[in-house]
Every structure is written in structure tokens, then in C-alpha cells.
Symmetry: C2
Subunit: 204 residues, 2 copies
């Protein structure tokens, strides 16, 4: 490829002046990070993700939440809830998280992500050093009592298949970076704990 390079100074120029993750982090004043929230439906993942984002944003962190609302209706709208589609759903979320981490953001994902194999895939794609697995560990009985979307009632009535915790397994993390006891702890206390997983922005 030597000849091609010699004929293509613009190509070399592009290579040598790229803005990288470290440059973006320097501009933001804080490192990027991926918080990967996992837990049953109704465990409180979205609530906690939102509260964490609010706290981080107020302190000058550049943040983004990936959840069913903005992923399942857009990027992953071609996917259903079969095992293969669930796996592809998580793969794409992990890949987008990786890109956003490279963009210098603190990414917070909020998906049930019930299977260890897929969460491990996400960890490896993102890179273990930047990955904070957060088990939102609320007992099934409490999740089912809350049932904010009415999904457990539908599943118990036989009107919804593949409901995690009912007729589909949830594999709890074996060694998550953080366990949020969202059934008993106050949101504020959990957020304070989670904030310790990121470095303070410069000048804050």
C-alpha cells in the first residue's frame, strides 16, 4: 500500500489529526464510563438511571441513557423478544455504548438483560475497565406488586410470554461492581454510592 499512501496525502493527513477519546474527555473534564443496569421489570432501573443522570448532569458530566424508550422504538425496532432477538438487542446496545464511551460520554443503560452471557459480552465489548455492572436487586414479589406497566398481571394471566421472572429466567450477576437494593434503599443513597464509580469533573 506504499504507493497508494504516497499518492494520497489527504488520507495520511486524516489519520494523523483524528480527535480521540482522550481529547474528548479532556474537553469534557471527566472520563467516560458505562453504567450497565440489570434487573427485573419493575425493579427500578429506569428510576435509578434517571436519578443518576440528573445527579451527574448537575455536576457537569456529559451523560446519556439508553433504554427501551429510545432503543426499542428506533435502532432495534426490527427486533422482537425471541432469545436470538434479545441477544441481538443487547449486542447493539453494547456496541452503541462503546461508541458513546469513545465519544467521551457517561452512558447509563437500563435493560432487563437477564442473561449472564450477554452481560459478559457487553462487558467485553465496552472493555472491563470502563464497565460498571449495576444489579438493581429488587425482590420479584416487590416488582410484581409495583407492576408499573401491568406486565406481570398479563404474564400471570397467560397473555404475555417470555416474561422474565415468570416464565423466563433471570440470572443475577455473580460479581457486579454495584448492588442497588432498590426495594429498600432510598434512591438518593443509591445515587451517592453510584457517583463514587466516576471521577469528579475537573473544576467542579
Amino acid at each position: 500500500m506504499k504507493n497508494a499512501s504516497d499518492k494520497s496525502p489527504n488520507f495520511l493527513y486524516a489519520q494523523s489529526t483524528s480527535v480521540g477519546r482522550a481529547d474528548r474527555e479532556r474537553l469534557n473534564g471527566h472520563p467516560g464510563k458505562v453504567f450497565w443496569f440489570t434487573g427485573l421489570s419493575g425493579a427500578g432501573k429506569s428510576t435509578l438511571a434517571n436519578a443518576l443522570e440528573v445527579a451527574l448532569h448537575a455536576r457537569g458530566f456529559r451523560t446519556y441513557i439508553l433504554d427501551g424508550d429510545n432503543v426499542r422504538l428506533g435502532l432495534n425496532k426490527d427486533l422482537g423478544f425471541s432469545d436470538a432477538d434479545r441477544s441481538e438487542n443487547i449486542r447493539r446496545v453494547a456496541e452503541v455504548s462503546r461508541l458513546m464511551l469513545d465519544a467521551g460520554l457517561v452512558v447509563i443503560t437500563a435493560f432487563i438483560s437477564p442473561f449472564r452471557r450477554e452481560r459478559d459480552m457487553a462487558r467485553n465489548l465496552v472493555g472491563p475497565d470502563d464497565f460498571v455492572e449495576v444489579h438493581v436487586d429488587t425482590p420479584l414479589a416487590i416488582c410484581e406488586q409495583r407492576d408499573p406497566k401491568g406486565l406481570y398481571r398479563m404474564a400471570r394471566a397467560g397473555k404475555l410470554a417470555n416474561m422474565t421472572g415468570v416464565d423466563s429466567a433471570y440470572e443475577p450477576p455473580l460479581s457486579p461492581e454495584f448492588v442497588a437494593h432498590a426495594g429498600t434503599q432510598a434512591v438518593e443513597d443509591m445515587v451517592i454510592g453510584l457517583m463514587r464509580c466516576v471521577s469528579k469533573p475537573q473544576g467542579a
Copy 2:
């Protein structure tokens, strides 16, 4: 759903305190934007995308480039180069651009994206107000002379199928926001023109 909401104050809390795009843009001091670069292989899309990112970054803009290097090898590694896969490739890039725009970033995409229908899809997904279609308009003869990846030679030798400009069509934009004559204009001049498409960061 009234009962469910009453029982679920955390859920309401999350809804009312979400950080939105406007908040992120305020923190960054500039609005998000999507620059969609389209043009033949060898037209200079990546070179110009990189030069634009360097210039924007130096002025305090939060930026990210989506290109073959970080998308085809990750998020879209399951896709080939059939018409259907090319379309899905562009759809996903557009959806990720939309998410990154929502995250407050100035996104620059650099893909051949040869078909009008797909670029229009991207424009509609992102939203016309935030979409800057940039035609990197370098004559085929020049692209083929540069041939930085040796693809034209392979295509002409019958060793590569579906090469845009050789045996697959390129549909030039009918009314792009910006035309970059990358065969004759200096990169610096094109960058100056492109910079006019974004608002200056506050305090810069």
C-alpha cells in the same frame, strides 16, 4: 394506570426529572447537529470529516465521527453489501446519529450512502432541522486515480462486485445543504464553509 402510578412514586419522580437534549446542549454550550457526508469511495469524505472534527473540537464543540472503521467492524458487523444490508447499515447509522444528537453531540457520518431514498430516510429519522447533507463531490476519474484502498482496481479487474461508480449507481443529492468540491477545493476552505452550519459555542 392511575392506581399503578399512585403506588409508584419513584416512577413519577423519574419522569419529571429527566435530563433532555436541551439540558445537554446548555451544558455543552452549543447545539447538536448531524453532518451527513455522502460521496464516492476516494472522494475525500473521511479526510474532510476528520478535518471538520479537528476544527470543531478545537473550538469546544463535542463531536463524534461515525464511519466504516467504527461501525462496520462493530455495530454493523453482521451486515454485508447486498442492497438490503446496505440499507440496514444506513438505517442503523441514522438511528445512532439520532441518539447522539439527542446526547447533544455534533455527529459527522462518512459513508458512501449512494441512494437518495436512504439519505432521505436518514434525514427524516434525524429530523430535517438538524440534518446537514454534505455532498463530497469529487469526479469519479479523480477518485479512481486516488484509489486509496485499491478498490477501483479490484472492481475494474472483476474481483469486487457492487462497487459504487463502477457497477453500482451513485445518486447525487438533488439539494444538499453543502457541496464540497473535494477534487479542487482546499480542505481548509471547505472546513470554513462547513463551520458556518453550526452555531458558535457560548464563551468561545
